[in-house]
Symmetry: C2
Subunit: 794 residues, 2 copies
Amino acid sequence: MPTADDQDSRTVLTDDEVRRLDAHWRAANYLAAGQIYLLANPLLTEPLRPDHIKPRLLGHWGTSPGLNLVHTHLNRVIRARDLDALCVWGPGHGGPSVVANSWLEGSYSETYPDVSRDAEGMARLFRQFSFPGGVPSHVAPETPGSIHEGGELGYALAHAYGAAFDHPDLLVACVVGDGEAETGPLAASWHSNKFLDPVHDGAVLPILHLNGYKIANPTVLSRLPEPELDALLRGYGHDPLYVAGDDPAQVHRDLAATLDRALDRIAGIQRAAREGGATERQPWPVIVLRTPKGWTGPAEVDGDPVEGTWRAHQVPLPGVRENPEHLRQLEAWLRSYRPEELFDADGRPVADVLACVPDGARRLGATPYANGGLLVRDLPVPSLDDFAVPVDKPGVTLHEPTRVLGGLLEQVMRDSAARRDFRLVGPDETASNRLQDVFGATGKAWQDATLPVDEHLDRHGRVMEILSEHLCQGWLEGYLLTGRHGLFSCYEAFVHIVDSMVNQHIKWLKTSRELSWRAPIASLNYLLTSHVWRQDHNGFSHQDPGFVDHVLNKSPQVVRVYLPPDANTLLSVADHALRSRDYVNVVVAGKQPCYDWLTMDQARAHCARGAGIWEWAGTENGGEPDVVLGCAGDVPTQEVLAAAQLLRRNLPDLAVRVVNVVDMTTLLPREEHPHGMTDFEYDGLFTADKPVIFAYHGYPWLIHRLAYRRTGHPNLHVRGYKESGTTTTPFDMVVRNDLDRYRLVMDVIDRVPGLRVRAAAVRQQMADARTRHHAWIREHGTDMPEVAEWSWGA
Amino acid sequence: MPTADDQDSRTVLTDDEVRRLDAHWRAANYLAAGQIYLLANPLLTEPLRPDHIKPRLLGHWGTSPGLNLVHTHLNRVIRARDLDALCVWGPGHGGPSVVANSWLEGSYSETYPDVSRDAEGMARLFRQFSFPGGVPSHVAPETPGSIHEGGELGYALAHAYGAAFDHPDLLVACVVGDGEAETGPLAASWHSNKFLDPVHDGAVLPILHLNGYKIANPTVLSRLPEPELDALLRGYGHDPLYVAGDDPAQVHRDLAATLDRALDRIAGIQRAAREGGATERQPWPVIVLRTPKGWTGPAEVDGDPVEGTWRAHQVPLPGVRENPEHLRQLEAWLRSYRPEELFDADGRPVADVLACVPDGARRLGATPYANGGLLVRDLPVPSLDDFAVPVDKPGVTLHEPTRVLGGLLEQVMRDSAARRDFRLVGPDETASNRLQDVFGATGKAWQDATLPVDEHLDRHGRVMEILSEHLCQGWLEGYLLTGRHGLFSCYEAFVHIVDSMVNQHIKWLKTSRELSWRAPIASLNYLLTSHVWRQDHNGFSHQDPGFVDHVLNKSPQVVRVYLPPDANTLLSVADHALRSRDYVNVVVAGKQPCYDWLTMDQARAHCARGAGIWEWAGTENGGEPDVVLGCAGDVPTQEVLAAAQLLRRNLPDLAVRVVNVVDMTTLLPREEHPHGMTDFEYDGLFTADKPVIFAYHGYPWLIHRLAYRRTGHPNLHVRGYKESGTTTTPFDMVVRNDLDRYRLVMDVIDRVPGLRVRAAAVRQQMADARTRHHAWIREHGTDMPEVAEWSWGA
């Protein structure tokens, strides 16, 4: 296919260069296969025996030769051009490959000195792979140079772009497997180039590896007619360069030439934008690499073709311990790499093998970009007092919490303008979520044409908006993992779209925290707003508070969940989240006008404790309360305070305590979460024996799941969202879910011993108010004035 | 742009036809705007006053004129060609539009007789929209003709393909919004055409509606340079046809001609395949429709451009009750449709408006394809006895449960071969999940080229494999919603990828069940396998049992969760799931060899109860047990039985009861779930006061969340998966998570009063066994023989 730049320099490797590259590739292939199979005899110094073979053969061979080929050639260009490069290995299940390359270049032994770069280390390298107590079968946090676990496919390209944003000198290569390319998130990720600023961002070089097969099927992209594939990639905004073949020498020559052409083009695009002021988005190169799956492995096993087919996906030769013919085949396969030419008698790679390997931090396994904690700087978070809302009395003034946070974020954007290490991502919802003040400091990243009617689009903007939660999440993960900061603002219901992605990120962080060489990175911060109680324009499909439940299943070392009840507590929580490391912080907060309850100082103290008694809201007087009203979340807090007010007015001698919970994990036992309260602390707030009516933002049983071990748990009665939703008014939503003030007062009357008789009239008043609501709303379509105009402190 | 078929007949509308189509479109636009704004005065028979306006202005205007345009023109071609058609409205937040069209064609009033097709009915139509107690703002189950809620964007095209599979005479139009087109699932969905069989499947006609903007931003696709967009769509395997403009008459002419060309091409492709035997995949037409967002609405509001911009997204004129100028603008806008020409004095649409409307079940709001329960037939599920594994004694023989299920599914495939109303979907995992026997009855759908090495690819196959859980889910939802059956087999960890999709489907089913006119459809059945305990090749990224927690947050009317412990119980559960209606059935079962515990008859009885005592496994003798061992899931069941055996041998006088739970919702109180046990039943199994050691497949706190109200809950001690995973052996996985037999015996000893002293030596033996495990596994990399060779019944 003709390409735009036939004037590009054509790299022509000498035979000697080909020989050396091939030696590196063969060495990597040998080491990858060795990891899958060998327990001993790593250099094949003696004939292969069954007892040299691992008892459990695990791992993924099929993708490994392709990854090795790319690694070998990236080595060459990094060295030749002195590049700062990172590679995202999409088919990260090919773990043996990336580990092999790291060992060859020496970064593995520097990270894990017991796995030395010699025969003894090679034996350890082989044995540990997929071995209990050893290293996992995939590229993982344990793998030097990695920021991407390639088990759950779909996110490689988004991670690569995240790594490239605001790293102008970085080249991020990204191997996209043709299996992964079928996923939705990957299919959407190609359009990330519409958001890549050639001035301030680095480059992403996707390498679409068409090895033709998934686990059991051909892949969609590998079987497209060639013109269709070419059109698709051009439609994605790329200029495709093709390399295909199964003759190693020729593929080496073609891939080297093609990589050089791609890098020349990238340099040209960057130069034009940075020096020439070019602003029109250019097609970035993509390399399409078509080589056989399981290349150089067994061509046939038991009469079935294996190399070049899906049968090469995992372990191409099974049962090697038991099957002498397979053992023979394995030995022939391993010896086909001629290990005696690749490693010296001590097992060290010979000079030819290492000829292409770059030095020091330029090595892909040693780049600090893949250990972002080495690069991260503290974010300049300004003083909260500059953004706090004044609160003379609780519950008098109203603010939109997220709008107040927007002011803080604007300042963070401003203060990080030169450093460019903070980004705000969201699916087209920054303004909808009322964070639009940030546009005072930066715009929305956008590289395509603009029209006069557009607002805040900015070729160099650091707000990222695309209608894909997957891309928001993937970009931000890549950005954080390479040493920067960010916040993901999302409609609460639709953050479930990235449930599986946050799973993987939490798993990554959990494992990383256990590795001393991985420096802590900035936390992944979610602001979930436009939440379940205030989806006024939408309805049932937009009502789902279950993300909190989802993340609380994950590692307590990593997960934090905050439900600030007002603007100042949101500021305090955000401040903490933005400064923290190695967490996933989930913050749920409203964008609608919400009463201000706490001054900034009170908010700081309350958030630091995570949960506390709001004395001013209760009616206890030094003694034990008769009942505790618990609340978590902005709407439940308002309903609880309205209920407390009703109780104060109607049952003035009832001792009511109001407890607000900001940090949900405080409800867990101390031994289950570092933020968990001791039983002494918990009982001090909630008592061990009094009825507790708890109004919670989400699914009510979550509170039971957190608190079931507490002494007072049998007295705990929780109200929350129970999937009763539609397009309706804010107060009707709480009534439908039995979370409203009147229902809460009735709950108190029903549960405080003796009160049901004594307060029967009050209870009836509450029931009447609910009836009145139903009648009013059907007639007027609005909330009745006693609710709409309610305040605590007026 | 030149297209391939300039010889296509060119539709030329007469002026009269244009006038009538335009009348229909104007009427629909008028009704859409009226729903958003008007509380009274629906026909504008008097000047508009503030009290005619709704107090809360809610809804999405921006997309509505485009949807109305498409609906008008689909009416025309359905009528002209007597088509069986269904439309999936991707921008389903444009609810007023689809409701308006249904009202115009009469299907709305037939479904909801109180909303009659006259002035009174129009007043109701307007008032009910987004009004408390009325209808939701989106296309929803309440909307006649709908199978798709367009709130959570991304799934329109997958739903459309699902509807088209195995409906050879159906045309499924699908409006894809350019916002939605940015999502991952939608981006992947374009490739669905590689799986559409032109012989047995109907056609999908995507209509990509580029109105240019999302909530606050231009869309990516609308700003692509035209050649890039064209290349993209051709790369997706489509032949794009373009319609663009803002002059209604011209757009009517162009769209009519283009729709006819598209339908001619579809007919041509189908004819070539069905009559001519053509087998090469052809590019299917896609229509690219470029019209302004909020077309015909206010051009400017308060000096800002609105029509044709993102500002038209929701309610273009806010505060109409309070702002006289906005009121005036609204009146002018509504009168611009000339309602007096469109509706007679009684509010009935005039003949010109209805000229394009098809008859009876051909109307988009009346098609039975959108009320799939009207079409669904009972699936022919064969007798389980033909597939059951023989069980003479429990725990002696081993079978792979999913492989046994594969035999049943093969028979279902065979028996539905002529009806073609059952499909199996999965992300390239049918064989990996050991269901490959189905290939004896049908192949894997595949329309592209095949090679000799391929297996089971079949142009007419009913197994659907693509490496996209989103597409598997979306296709299956569309298939079920249009009256067919299916099963989604998925790796357990990665089903989280569709968390948000299953949310939406459950919400859909919950609402549908409340609508008497919606007939029950076949359940959405998940088989989750390759589960957390047996991810031998992969590791931590593949270990996540949280989907059960996720679905159990949702409506109990809809959600069912089964963990069959062996092959025969899996058959029984699958039989129930395949016959059921309107549920989401989640079945978690292993693919690895697993002991057979129950005969087919025992399995049927056990599954019917949902939970029961396995007397043969316990040591109680008529009286009350000293301890209950509970289990749910195949691996926990095995560990519990091994623990029971250890207890029987080492503490023969301890009365141990073994309770196995298949149906997780039995643990819930009866009032919370229809399958929930009464307290009497629960206590009869688990006792009210004895220690219960419960070994659960997933996160242990789920059991507490289900059982916290039970009397015996304080004595309940649960073991399960606690995010301790890696690539390791099966037994090491249970040891790492404290779910192993030795740990369970220690738990029993620790919790039965007095036993800790009396059984100290046994406890030490158990601890020693765990130590032995650790040493063995580090040396050998396998499970020690006493575990690997264990059986219950030998």
